[in-house]
Amino acid sequence: MRFQLIGVNHKSAPLELRERLAIPESRLPDTCRDLTAYPGIEEGMVISTCNRVEIVAHTTNGHADLRGFLHDHFHLTAAELDAHLYEFREKDAVRHLFRVASSLDSMVVGEAQILGQVKEAYATARAVGAVRGQLDQLFSRAFAVAKRVRSETAVGSSSVSIASVAVELAKKIFGTLEGKTVFIVGAGKMSELAARHLMAHGCASIFVANRTYDRAIGLAQKFNGQAIKFEDLYNTCDRADIVITSTGAPHAIFRREHGEQFLSRRKNRPMFFIDIAVPRDVSPEMGKLDGIFTYDIDDLQQAVSSHVADRRKEAELAEAIITSEVERFEARLHTLDVVPTIVSLQDHLETIRQAEIDRVRGRMGHLTPEQEMAVEALTRGIINKVMHTPITTLKTAAKESEATTVVDVVRRLFNLHDKEATPPEKKSEVETRQ
């Protein structure tokens, strides 16, 4: 395992630097080609998003100068760049990549976009041949891990801004927002944002009421909605399923009697009040009515923070998954590492067997087919018996850290060193074949 990873992300580097490092999509293939042409790098790819630029490579000796590549490629000096870089090798590189793909390293943990971006980067690099055997395995595994994290934890299941929490709550009440009506009472930035979110999730129509009628008209036009005179508020409000209220009124403008009135006109269909005004626009008494659901700014804030806390909890679960996946990946790679040795050991003994049979054939004279078969079976049986222990030992060792030592010993014992040692390119072929 000779993976290396180097890069910057939103935590390690300021935006200005990330901007200078960002690679436009059109130039990605060239960058990948440059990367693989760089000394010591066998395979490589580049992930470039607005929050991160990372280079993942499989190198010949595990110590390729990726920093040097970045300096050369982006014409940056070590002083400008190095303080912001992080670099991982082998297991740590694998872990980092798994975390990135699973959106645990994202600015908004759990956001789904990053996986798509990594997949695109992978496809681009693969298309130009920069990703082959080793990285291919690494990334396929990373995608599987991301999928596992997504399905086994709730890390990506909900969003964390006030507007999106409002949408989510509305969905818990109404199921789909398709065809629902929104009423904005008191035009303001925040209510506008919430309304925009709700409309984006399918709400069909919108009413706006404001003390200053002109502002109501202005906002209504933005949403293709209808402006309502403030005096008509109580007569029209029951037509809305979701009310976003943020007036500067000193007292509650929605009181219990209004709620009762709305409900009876709506045949008790539920209503959702998002009260982002301080002081509150909806009296707590009204919120107690069956069928009226009120969330004030504190409730929303609390929902947001509880989601953040939940995510943290889920993220821990996700980290555990990643740790176990890194172990598994490592174990698999090790198993692959011993395969070429096993193959050459088998080849080696088979050659000896053939040579010996050929040598004694002259002395044995003519053999019947049965005798021929008996000789075959006998010799094969012997070498299989001989090979059994070394192969088992190799396979067991593959799972432990001593793999390289055992491989070495076996190669030396059977003299596999010089003639059979597989050069790196061929080795990867063998692995793919396996």
């Binding site: 709730a154 909900s158 109404f174 045949k267 539920p270 069956d290 069928g291 969330y295 609390q302 939940d310």
Partner: protein
């Protein structure tokens, strides 16, 4: 043999029962899938059991155990229908325990307990049982939905729904499940009671309205009608609807229990 299949079904429903208890405390997508598959498998066994019973020629729907088995099967079918439409297993919280209980009782004993008196109109009797059971199953689901509605309403009002995913569907979806089952069940229940009256009149020549079975059945039907009416007229839901649904459910249970002390609808060991 039929009983053996029923016991297999019972085993599967047991997983559903466990789900019903677990789902209230924590949400697990995996477990709800397991419960769903177990329930489907249980239904297959259950169906085999019922079919075998039917083919054996000894079908006695008017026996308590076979009746319970049939009712459990119909309730499960209802649950599956809801799953097909709304993709939610949450009504299982109420349906699974009831189905498990019914199947358990039905699987206890081979000896069918029969209606005592001789009934000449076999077809009418079968129609009565089928119709009324569909009504019961719908009522059960509707009752379950109204409890879930209350639960979800409380969670939303408490504003402390900390878990990211809730096993409960949206409030309006639960409401729709409840209302639709109510609407669907009502005609079946009505027709079931009518056919029952026909059977009773043909057997006794008149209807004894003071008999507890008939009295409770009529009471249950009236509550059922009030539920449909208040819902349709003024959109009663939430607490009031749950109260009515509970009342109707209790009335239905009482009507069922009345079998044991009704003069005309009595079961006895065969």
């Amino acid at each position: 043999m039929s009983l053996l299949w029923l016991r297999f079904a019972l085993g599967c429903y047991f997983i559903g029962l466990v789900y019903a208890f677990v789902a209230l405390t924590r949400t697990s997508d995996l477990f709800s899938r397991i419960a769903l598959h177990a329930a489907s498998l249980g239904m297959v066994f259950h169906f085999v059991s019922l079919t075998e019973l039917f083919l054996s020629g000894h079908v006695v729907w008017a026996s308590v155990h076979n009746g319970e088995s049939l009712l459990a099967f119909l309730s499960m079918s209802f649950f599956m229908l809801i799953y097909a439409i709304y993709q939610t297993t949450s009504p299982g919280v109420v349906v699974f325990p009831v189905v498990f209980f019914l199947t358990f009782v039905a699987a206890l004993d081979e000896q069918p307990v029969l209606l005592t008196q001789f009934v000449s109109h076999k077809g009418w009797l079968a129609a009565h049982i089928f119709l009324i059971f569909i009504g019961y199953a719908a009522l059960l689901v509707s009752f379950g939905a109204s409890l879930l509605y209350l639960l979800q309403e409380r969670r939303l009002k408490a504003k402390k729904s900390t878990s990211l995913i809730s096993f409960l569907p949206a409030l309006e979806v639960i409401d729709q499940i409840g209302y639709r089952s109510l609407l669907l069940g009502f005609p079946f229940m009505t027709l079931g009671l009518l056919t029952g009256s026909v059977v009773a009149i043909s057997a006794y020549g008149h209807l004894d309205f003071l008999d507890p079975k008939i009295l409770l059945s009529v009471l249950m039907w009236v509550v059922y009608m009030v539920m449909v009416f208040t819902r349709w007229n003024s959109g009663w839901r939430g607490r009031r609807a749950a109260f009515l649904a509970t009342f109707a459910f209790v009335a239905a249970l009482a009507a069922w229990a009345a079998n044991y002390f009704s003069a005309i609808h009595r079961f006895a060991a065969s």
